[in-house]
């Protein structure tokens, strides 16, 4: 189970301010803190804090200041592929591109770039028309992404299918469809592609966010979830991730398994 720490995102005030003021402190603080919490990768998203034309430069700066303090590989999270490419150029370790929808134009931009920089890809099960309501259409998009990976020579272990979870308080019917999608995606290829979710999205604007996140994680992992973009500093959530690996017999039990999960 891979944890992608979500906190370095311009949507958060401290990160937004850091970007506007070119002050790396908050970014570096969260890089270290998320690593300590149990993150395996750090998601990096400049968000709307920076005007579009400055994003390429901002991205390169973010990657550099994070790498000054953390050894963790990065998940480059942007809709601006030039910004992602600028980040990939300075990444010291193989990164993951977040993300690419099932749209031919974007596939043609992202997949060759992933090969060039030895990067992974998060493939979204959506196209221009948006997110499907049911599992069937999500899996159809996943199939297109798997076929693209095959065509461009991206190994299945580097393709992370994201079946896109929506907030349960406004789009409750999506939660079970996403679980079903996870199950089916795992049967699309052998070896199967990996899977990922932006987990915190499920609990947006609900009062019991942590409980919803934890519960959904346990359910999703049982259905085939391999990675989550999530709050790496919610200790209970990280504990759930560790425990799923024990209960699915993926990691051999020892009394100190929680500690071992965090140690690297």
């Amino acid at each position: 189970m891979l944890i992608f720490g979500e906190r370095i995102n311009g949507m958060f005030t401290d990160i937004g301010d850091a970007l506007r003021n070119k002050d790396p402190k908050a970014i570096q603080y969260w890089a270290v803190k998320q690593q300590e919490g149990g993150a395996h990768y750090l998601d990096v998203n400049s968000g709307p804090a920076i005007p579009t034309h400055e994003r390429v430069e901002a991205y390169e700066w973010m990657v550099n200041v994070i790498q000054e303090v953390s050894e963790l590989p990065l998940v480059l999270d942007s809709t601006n592929y030039d910004a992602i490419e600028a980040g990939l150029k300075v990444c010291k370790r193989p990164a993951i591109i977040n993300s690419c929808p099932a749209e031919q134009v974007k596939i043609e931009r992202v997949f060759p770039m992933a090969i060039q920089y030895n990067a992974g890809i998060i493939g979204l099960t959506m196209d221009k028309k948006g997110i499907p309501k049911d599992a069937e259409n999500r899996v159809a998009f996943a199939m297109e992404l798997v076929a693209a990976a095959d065509e461009y020579g991206v190994p299945m272990e580097d393709l992370y299918i994201d079946p896109l979870i929506l907030p349960v308080n406004v789009a409750q019917e999506h939660a079970p469809e996403v679980l079903e999608s996870l199950r089916q995606v795992k049967m699309l290829a052998n070896p199967a592609p990996r899977t990922v979710l932006g987990l915190s999205n499920v609990s947006q604007k609900s009062p019991d966010r942590n409980l919803i996140n934890r519960t959904y994680m346990a359910m999703a992992v049982a259905c085939g979830l391999d990675a989550a973009i999530m709050d790496a500093n919610d200790d209970d959530l990280v504990d759930v991730a560790a425990t799923t690996q024990i209960l699915l017999n993926r990691s051999i039990y020892a009394d100190s398994y929680l500690k071992v999960f965090r140690a690297r």
């Binding site: 990691s251 039990y253 020892a254 009394d255 100190s256």
Partner: protein
């Protein structure tokens, strides 16, 4: 029509551990031994590397052992002298290293002092140039006393010392850390305790490449299948990057095989079982060959004739 082999692909490999230390490394050994490092299940050379060949440590005790005469006769008079016995094991029987068991320390037996035990260790070190494994008696408390003194007396030799167990690991782990030795972590045929003990020892500060796993084995006919499944689980864990199970494995084959009735009961008692001399050799050799197939890196053996057979088996499996 050509046939494509189905190959497993593993993400990690077994850790490597070095035993012994030469003069440049702070010891007095003429050579060191490296075990582990495999990147596939044992001897599946087409799937991955069996990097370091398994080795045989021959068992030497500081008091004349209560072993069957079939073994003692092969060893001969040197059985009264641990240093001479060790030398014969290396020179005549081809032992890769020596496993010295200090049964004389037992409070219910000779009750030898820690200093006496340390002297015996030094004698054996002086007699042979190969790396040395040193284990105490069957009394945990006494072992803590003797191993602290032995570890200090042989500081820098990078002995493989034992035994650390879940309820008694701190003292010997500290001794290994301070005096730069490698440690045997023994668990009672339990994969979860095996992993937990490695975690506990590592938390004290001993690096993972200074630990060797003793999963506890059983002789042929006395639960070797269970041993096999535990060792296989540990090995698959190591290959799947479970760092806390990735250490090389030591198996006390001679001890376990020769506890089996089939290895010592006379032909008069069981006429259908055949000649004891052959049977005893085969029981130990087959037990050893069994655990080799699931990843034993160090075989602790007793019978020189069995050692000879297993050495040939290792050479065959390595494709020599």
């Amino acid at each position: 029509m050509s046939v494509t082999l189905v190959k497993e692909k593993y993400s990690s490999k077994v850790g490597e551990v070095v035993l012994g230390a030469t003069a440049e490394q702070g010891g007095t050994r003429t050579s060191t031994i490296t075990v582990g490092g495999d990147s596939a299940l044992p001897f599946l050379h087409f799937e991955g590397e069996t990097k370091n060949r398994p080795v045989i440590a021959m068992e030497v005790t500081d008091v004349v052992p209560s072993w069957p005469d079939t073994i003692k006769n092969r060893i001969g008079d040197v059985i009264n002298d641990p240093a001479a016995w060790a030398k014969k094991c290396v020179d005549d029987f081809g032992a890769d290293l020596i496993y010295l068991k200090l049964d004389g320390a037992d409070p219910e037996g000779e009750n030898r002092s820690p200093e006496d035990c340390a002297r015996i260790v030094k004698d054996v070190l002086a007699a042979v140039g190969v790396p040395l494994i040193v284990e105490g008696c069957d009394d945990g408390e006494k072992n803590n006393e003797i191993m602290a003194v032995i570890a200090e007396a042989a500081a820098g030799e990078n002995l493989l010392i034992g035994i650390a167990e879940q309820d008694n690991y701190k003292s010997i782990t500290a001794a290994a850390m301070v005096h730069k030795h490698t440690l045997i972590a023994r668990s009672p045929l339990d994969i979860n305790i095996c992993k937990q003990l490695n975690i506990l020892i590592n938390e004290m500060g001993l690096p993972l490449n200074k630990i060797v796993i003793d999963p506890t084995v059983a002789g042929l006919g006395f639960g070797i299948e269970y041993v096999y499944s535990i060792m296989e689980r540990a090995r698959l864990g190591a290959l799947a990057n479970d760092k806390m199970l990735s250490m090389p494995i030591i198996c006390t084959v001679g001890h376990e095989a020769n506890r089996c009735k089939e290895a010592y009961a006379s032909v008069e008692e069981f006429p259908g079982w055949g000649d004891l001399a052959d049977r005893s050799v085969l029981w130990e050799a087959v037990t050893a060959s069994g655990v080799l197939q699931v990843g034993a890196s160090i075989l602790v053996m007793r019978n020189p004739a069995a050692v000879s057979i297993v050495k040939k088996n290792i050479a065959d499996m390595m494709g020599d």
